[in-house]
């Protein structure tokens, strides 16, 4: 127990810290052992029957694609948790943060490893929800809450579309197992539901991976703590959409619809985002927009779909995760140390923070695509794939070129200016970050260099198996190299560097120009989002005002009018009125006692409708009920009759009690004007009910159940009263449900009566008053 007023200093993060670091490390170590098997072309499947009746299995597919993702998730996860233990270790809510982060990691791993589409969807939603919690981690800031809600609604809506798509695809393919679906590509592409399936899947993927026009939530999501941005919004979660497209490529890909949708959306997002990145001054925002650019590029090349394009995509996926996570973590260190992330303020930090600068420069060189970093190989293979395309060559290569050139300039902005030149004043004096925080960027930057120098390793371990999985066939030549010869791609790279250098040189005037341009642009997505939300709220308020008026009379009117109209439509459409009813003969069959009851009921009904006293109305309604009970007795249903009589008695008592509180009928304003309408509804309900009853009597009544109960009631259930035996024995479960409802209704009524001030007993109210 902590003594009041005594601050106990805590080790970085406490137990939550090291547990959260050990979990991803263990997962990473476990997954690494599968690398040789997967690299040899094996696909490892494992399954656990979850809901067998619905064909939902918790099954795992471990191939090149899922293994690459799983290693990135657990590997970067380990570095990010290590980093967070220092970055947020002293935050009072740190354990909560770790919980969210672990939940996210679990969801993300489940998502990439799932073989069953339903399981994949469940994990997809887990990442959406945990992302919401992580973005809104600083929940005392309105901006965080708004950004979190925006991300949740955008990705959640996409998730619903995805669910619809999954169900359709499951029905088309006859299975929810990816390992089955992915082999049926030809059949799925020829199916009439192919187009809706693609649209729904892409709606899910584009929202999750922030493709234009759903891009606006991602830069806002940077309200999250920096480790979260590094982990979720660059390396893992936003790539879930890319993962989905890559995963479904063998089943849904290689059609014109798929090609052009992905290529146009991806290319546009990539170029658009790189231009937006140039406009920002907050380096974290710059990185956020470059992430959008990377997601666009990945989408573009999945769409392009040739084996080279897929190979380039897989390589760029790893390359981007490595350098982007490193840069995000780097800017977190800088922010921590200097108190600012403004590109205009930060200058010459290299001397004060040499290790951070080293990691930043290596990662940025990889981002710029300069040899010998792996980023160069990534860019080179994207160009090569783009140039060899049969269709859309200019568009794909052009988009990749424009994005890469801008990326080159951005690399200068995030790593050159802040660390070189004269040291500038910062809100806090700059100092080097702690070891735990430096580990992440250094390891990631080191990997970028290692894979650049030894491309064979990444090729054999991750890129080749990944390409087989996404391309849907293992007959693909995957050969990575740093430099082959002076070819078109290489020349294009040189032009990229030159263009990028020019853009960097003019980036400050360019930023001002872009800022003015976007200021003048009337179409703004983020305020537009607010408009959509406000509209939705107004719609909800409008329909609540109209449908939930709180006036019992109106509710009853709507309910009975709906009943009458829907029944009438059914009667008319089913043509059930086509019976011949000999009314004369039917009436002749009535005895005097039948007539007496009819008159009794009719007189009660008329009196109820026309009286001006509530007491008379309720009493005469009781008369109607008793008349109905008499009918039950005449047709020998004593149990029903007794129940009816008792309920009728109680209802009269209950309503009479309630009535004492109600105003007299005459005083109620406007009551008289509505009576014709009420009469119309009442007569309509009566007519349709009569029609339905007559129609029912026309057909043969199925007596199978009745016969069964009659025969078995005594020998099997030892009861001669069939009604009661059905209630308590044959259909006891139904009865149990009914009495549960009765009790809940009573408790609800009790809570309503007692829950409000005026609902409290008189004596308690009087006590309050004194």
């Amino acid at each position: 127990m902590a003594e009041a007023g005594v601050e106990v200093p805590r080790a970085a993060g406490g137990p939550a810290g090291w547990i959260s670091i050990l979990i991803p490390v263990a997962i990473f170590a476990y997954l690494v052992q599968f690398v040789p098997q997967v690299a040899a072309g094996e696909v490892i499947l494992w399954a656990y029957e979850w809901v067998p009746a619905l064909d939902i299995r918790l099954s795992v597919i471990l191939d090149g694609l899922s293994l690459t993702f799983a290693l990135l998730i657990s590997g970067i996860g380990a570095l990010v948790t290590l980093y967070s233990s220092k970055y947020l270790g002293n935050h009072p809510e740190y354990p909560r943060f770790v919980l969210y982060l672990m939940a996210f990691m679990g969801g993300m791993l489940g998502l990439v490893l799932a073989d069953n589409l339903i399981a994949l969807f469940v994990f997809w939603e887990v990442t959406t929800i945990s992302s919401y919690l992580l973005i809104g981690f600083n929940s005392d800031e309105a901006k965080s809450r708004r950004s979190a809600l925006q991300a949740l609604l955008v990705t959640g809506t996409g998730g619903l579309a995805l669910l619809a798509g999954i169900i359709m695809l499951g029905n088309v393919a006859g299975s929810f197992e990816l390992s089955v679906i992915l082999t049926q590509g030809d059949m799925i592409r020829a199916h009439p539901l192919y187009v809706p399936i693609v649209i729904l899947f892409l709606a899910g993927a584009f929202t999750k991976s922030a493709q234009f026009p759903f891009h606006f939530w991602l830069p806002n999501a940077m309200a999250a703590p920096t480790p979260v941005s590094a982990y979720l919004h660059s390396a893992t979660m936003v790539k879930a959409g890319v993962f989905l497209m890559a995963r479904m490529n063998p089943a849904l890909g290689s059609t014109d619809l798929w090609f052009w949708t992905l290529v146009i959306a991806g290319g546009f997002t990539a170029v658009f985002a790189s231009i937006l990145a140039m406009r920002q001054t907050d380096i974290k925002q710059v990185l956020a927009y470059t992430t959008l650019m990377a997601l666009g590029t990945l989408t573009l090349f999945i769409g392009a779909g040739t084996s080279d394009a897929i190979k380039g995509m897989m390589l760029f996926l790893v390359v981007h995760s490595l350098y982007k996570a490193a840069l995000f973590l780097m800017i977190g260190i800088v922010d921590h140390a200097t108190g600012t992330r403004e590109a205009e303020v930060l200058r010459g930090l290299g001397r004060k923070m040499p290790i951070t600068a080293l990691a930043a420069v290596v990662a940025a060189v990889s981002m710029a695509g300069i040899p010998p970093l792996v980023g160069f190989i990534g860019k080179e293979f994207l160009y090569k794939a783009g140039l060899e395309l049969d269709q859309g060559m200019i568009w794909v290569t052009g988009a990749a070129f424009a994005a890469s050139a801008l990326m080159f300039a951005v690399a200068g902005i995030v790593a050159l200016r802040p660390f070189f030149g004269p040291l500038a004043e910062t809100p806090k004096p700059a100092h080097e970050g702690p070891v735990f925080m430096l580990t992440g960027p250094l390891v990631l930057a080191g990997l970028s260099l290692f894979f650049g120098l030894f491309p064979d390793t990444i090729e054999a371990w991750l890129v080749a198996p990944g390409t087989w999985a996404v391309y849907g066939s293992p007959d693909v030549n995957v050969d990575l190299y740093l430099f082959e010869e002076v070819n078109a791609a290489f020349i294009l790279s040189l032009i990229t560097f030159a263009t990028g250098a020019v853009i960097y040189a003019v980036h400050r005037p360019l930023r001002l120009f872009l800022a003015r341009l976007f200021e003048a642009n009337p179409i703004k997505f983020d305020p537009g989002w607010d408009g959509v939300l406000d509209g939705l709220k107004a719609l909800a308020a409008w329909q609540t005002r109209h449908l939930q008026s709180g006036v019992l009379q109106r509710y009853l009117f709507v309910i009975f009018a709906t009943l009458a109209v829907l029944s009438a439509i059914t009667i008319w459409s089913r043509d059930v009125l086509a019976f011949d009813l000999d009314l004369g003969a039917e009436l002749d069959g009535l005895l005097f006692k039948h007539w007496a009851v009819l008159v009794f009921v009719a007189a009660g009904s008329i009196l109820t409708a026309f009286t001006s006293s509530r007491m008379t109305a309720i009493a005469s309604l009781g008369v109607v009920g008793i008349g109905v009970a008499l009918i039950f007795i005449m047709f020998s249903a004593p149990d029903v009759a007794i129940t009816q009589l008792l309920v009728e008695t109680l209802v009269v008592v209950l309503v009479a009690v309630a009535m004492l509180k109600l105003p007299r009928l005459e005083i109620m304003a406007g009551h008289r004007d509505k009576r014709p309408w009420h009469a119309v509804v009442a007569v309509s309900v009566g007519l349709v009910t009569t029609a339905i009853l007559i129609a029912v009597l026309q057909g043969d009544i199925d007596r199978r159940l009745t016969d069964y109960f009659e025969v078995t009631s005594w020998p099997e259930a030892y009861g001669r009263n069939i009604v009661n035996v059905i209630l308590v024995d044959f259909r006891a479960l139904d009865t149990f449900g009914e009495i549960a409802v009765v009790m809940i209704a009573a408790l609800a009524a009790y809570a309503l009566l007692r829950g409000t001030y005026y609902g409290r007993p008189k004596d308690a109210r009087e006590e309050d008053g004194q």
Partner: protein
């Protein structure tokens, strides 16, 4: 609450009779018209009458237990009677029977889980109606 001497005096007799009758209806229900629903309604009518004649606080005092609790206990008894079958390997809510003093000609006195289920129904109906009626009457 009505201040009627006749009603007051008559109720004292009627409540007892109605309660007795309600139990009679409950027990005979398996073979003749009656059962838990009807029994519960009759029993509740007795106390509703009492509440009209003597007021709600007198009724609550006479009940000794909150009507909500009676309803909940009833639901519990019904559930227990249903789950009871599981101990004999039968599906839930399968009736279990015991015939006390069974001979060749006579089945003897039957005791069954079905009876307990019906008692549960009785208590739920009884308790629920009184919950609503008493709350409403105290309100006015």
């Amino acid at each position: 609450m009505m201040n009627s001497l006749i009603l007051n005096a008559a109720t004292r007799l009627l409540v007892g009779l109605l309660l007795l009758f309600s139990i009679y209806m409950l027990l005979r229900g398996h073979n003749l018209p009656g059962g838990g629903f009807i029994g519960g309604l009759i029993g509740a009518t007795g106390f509703v009458l009492y509440a009209i004649a003597h007021g709600c606080s007198a009724t609550r005092a006479a009940l000794r237990v909150d009507p909500q609790s009676i309803a909940m206990v009833g639901l519990g008894i019904a559930l227990a009677a249903g789950v009871f079958a599981a101990f004999f390997g039968d599906a839930l809510f399968t009736g279990q029977w015991l015939f006390i003093g069974e001979t060749e000609d006579d089945k003897g006195l039957p005791i069954s889980s079905v009876l307990f289920f019906d008692i549960g129904v009785y208590l739920v109906v009884f308790g629920s109606i009184l919950t609503i009626v008493l709350a409403l009457e105290e309100e006015v």
